[in-house]
């Protein structure tokens, strides 16, 4: 039985690259070493309801059509639009993302990634303060203090703690967990918190306040602190600060408890400063626990192609960027968008109700392997191969490490990259002598 070793798992930002995938008759029958998420993802194409055929909505119903018809219809929608939005592109390869950026450019679109509802604020934080970070193998070898702040790896990144952090054994941490302390900061006593040496159960939305207190302590001003901070006694915060200061190498992993709560990116921004302050005393770094396996890749590709990691507006021919103004949910909420294309993402499931209402009002194009809530409002649906299972390409791990995804099985579905290339060509054909919209 052919076993593909060192296969790359393409579900979460851990991008584990040690899977052992058994393929029989071009079907994946077993996925070794993966977690529940990775197994579900890798076996998915053989278990779940695939979008088998291209479809176009007619009189409210999706009807099967030819691939060329779907591409033509999609291109027509994009070319006719004055304020098209391209969204998603995180569960796909960097090669496809480059094409998505080009398509957005050619159609004078906005383009944004799933970071819009995930770690977008972390990019904003990096713009404010920088990102003092490291590769995942560094804490594995060095860290004696691990902090999970507003993230829950037991659920969202199941192998994180064994491969890279709490339990991982490394050069200066040969005994794994025994050589480390682990702290969880979360309003909920999560499954991750069960094994924590310290849990700081803060009041929801007070992350910024807690960070302020920690920085005040690190910078020698604990005397001004009130008795209660973020819903916790001051002593608990002092205890946490002491643990941080006593560490030889500390790492703070943060999740959407930092990015989605009150103040949004201002918390992540302030975490970055806390890390900088702590480096006056010891070594400390931070790492964002990115969700989609290649949402980091979108940020990387978009940055080198356009200068900006997300929320890019090509309407004037050159990229402009301002989350709050050019982010997907910003413009959907304002009901500005007049056409929508999404790939390798499911805004239907992950956007707030107000945004989805508008998506039902405008022509929408979906490129995906599976039917999902986005299909419900899409007017053109184009089936795609599953990147990382059915086609290869590059993905960036949560720590910005580029890894080559393997093709595990053959498929008759086109890859996102091929579909986008066909769309670009069709858009060019339709625009013809009119030339490129935006900036020419």
């Amino acid at each position: 039985m052919p076993v593909i070793k060192d296969a790359v798992c393409t579900l979460c930002g851990c991008l584990c690259d040690d899977l052992e995938v058994t393929v029989e008759d071009n079907k994946i029958t077993k996925v070794g070493k993966a977690c529940k998420l990775g197994r579900a993802k890798t076996m998915g194409p053989f278990l779940h309801e695939r979008i088998e055929k291209p479809m176009i909505r007619e009189n409210g119903e999706l009807k099967e059509c030819s691939y060329d018809e779907a591409i033509t219809k999609a291109a027509e929608i994009l070319v006719a639009a004055k304020r098209p939005m391209s969204y998603g592109w995180c569960s796909t390869s960097c090669e496809a993302i480059e094409k998505a950026v080009l398509l957005a450019e050619e159609t004078g679109s906005l383009i944004d990634s799933t970071a819009n509802v995930c770690h977008g604020p972390s990019a904003l934080a990096a713009q404010e303060k920088g990102a003092p970070t490291c590769s995942l193998g560094t804490p594995k070898n060095y860290a004696d203090l691990i902090i999970f702040w507003g993230c829950n790896p037991v659920h969202a990144h199941p192998r994180h703690q064994t491969r890279y952090s709490t339990m991982a054994k490394g050069a200066f941490t040969p005994n794994g967990k025994k050589d480390r302390k682990m702290v969880v900061v979360d309003p909920r006593n999560t499954d991750t918190a069960k094994k924590a040496d310290l849990l700081l159960q803060l009041k929801p939305g007070t992350d910024y306040v807690l960070i302020e207190a920690l920085r005040a302590i690190v910078n020698g001003h604990e005397d001004v602190l009130p008795d209660e901070i973020a819903g916790m006694p001051k002593e608990k915060v002092l205890e946490f600060a002491e643990m941080c200061k006593a560490a030889k190498f500390g790492v703070l992993y943060f999740g959407m408890g930092i990015t989605q709560t009150r103040g949004r990116y201002k918390s992540g921004d302030n975490v970055s400063s806390l890390i900088s302050d702590l480096n006056q005393i010891t070594k400390f770094v931070m790492i964002g626990m990115r969700g989609h396996y290649n949402v980091t890749g979108f940020g990387q590709v978009a940055s080198w192609e356009t200068g900006f990691p997300m929320a890019i507006d090509f309407s004037r021919g050159y990229p402009y960027y301002n989350p709050g103004e050019t982010g997907t949910n910003d413009v959907l909420m304002r009901r500005e968008v007049d056409a929508f294309i999404t790939g390798a993402a499911d805004p239907g499931a992950h956007f707030p109700q107000e945004s989805i209402k508008h998506l039902f009002n405008i022509p929408a194009i979906q490129i995906d392997g599976y039917a999902n809530p986005t299909t419900e409002f899409s007017d053109v649906v184009i089936p795609a191969a599953i990147a990382g299972v059915e086609c290869d390409g590059t993905a960036y791990r949560m720590d910005c490490q580029p890894i080559r995804m393997k093709k595990l099985v053959e498929t008759t579905f086109k890859s996102d990259e091929e579909i986008l290339t066909d769309l670009i060509n069709k858009v060019r054909e339709l625009k013809g002598a009119e030339g490129a919209k935006g900036g020419v």
Partner: protein
Amino acid sequence: MQTVTLTPNRSPTISVEAENITPDAFAGKSAAEIGAIPAWEGNEQITLADIFDVAVDGSGDAAETKIVIDGDVPRVKRIGEAMTAGEIVVKGDVDMRCGARMSGGSITVEGDADSWVGREMTGGEILVKGNATYYAGGGYRGETCGMRGGKLTIEGDVLDFLGEHMCGGEILVKGNARLLPGVLNWSGTITIEGDTTLPGGEMKSGTIFVKGKVLEMLPSYKDEGTEEVDGVMYRKYVGDLSRNGEGVLYVSV
């Protein structure tokens, strides 16, 4: 003296970028010339005449030019951007980035202003008679300084991040300011007559007056007792000590 009246002739749903609506761009121009000035509606280039009826009375340089927008323009962005002189009066609401990078002259918005009113302004005056949303007097992404000079007055309420990264100038909010006004400030003065939450986060220097209530106070400010300023008694706090800041936060007692 030149008065240019722009009367909205339709209500676009897509925000129109009209950074050329400035006394500088209009000065000395005829109605036809102003009507032909480009603007952008999404990815489509339009002209001001596509969204406004243009009337011009008299002629003058930028300082002598007054622009009256006679109605609501909640979907026209960048009005008065980088203007150096003259006057703009909007008899209704404006969209984002009104008065961004302005260095002189005045803008009066009789209705509400959307986010980033007065973004990175260095001089001149903006008066918003209604409410403003996010980042009033704030900065652009990645830039160290937001507002550097001039005066921004909002008679109603504002939402989060008022005067973010402020490096100079003066902001007056007569209503409430929601979350984190004066965050990451370097300089300048912010006065909030209503209530606010977590003022002065990571303030390095600069001054904030809160005449209403502070609904939630940061833990990292030092209480320095009471002090009277212009006849009003305040409790004086210094910080933000999270970053060894020396800003002053006055909260009415």
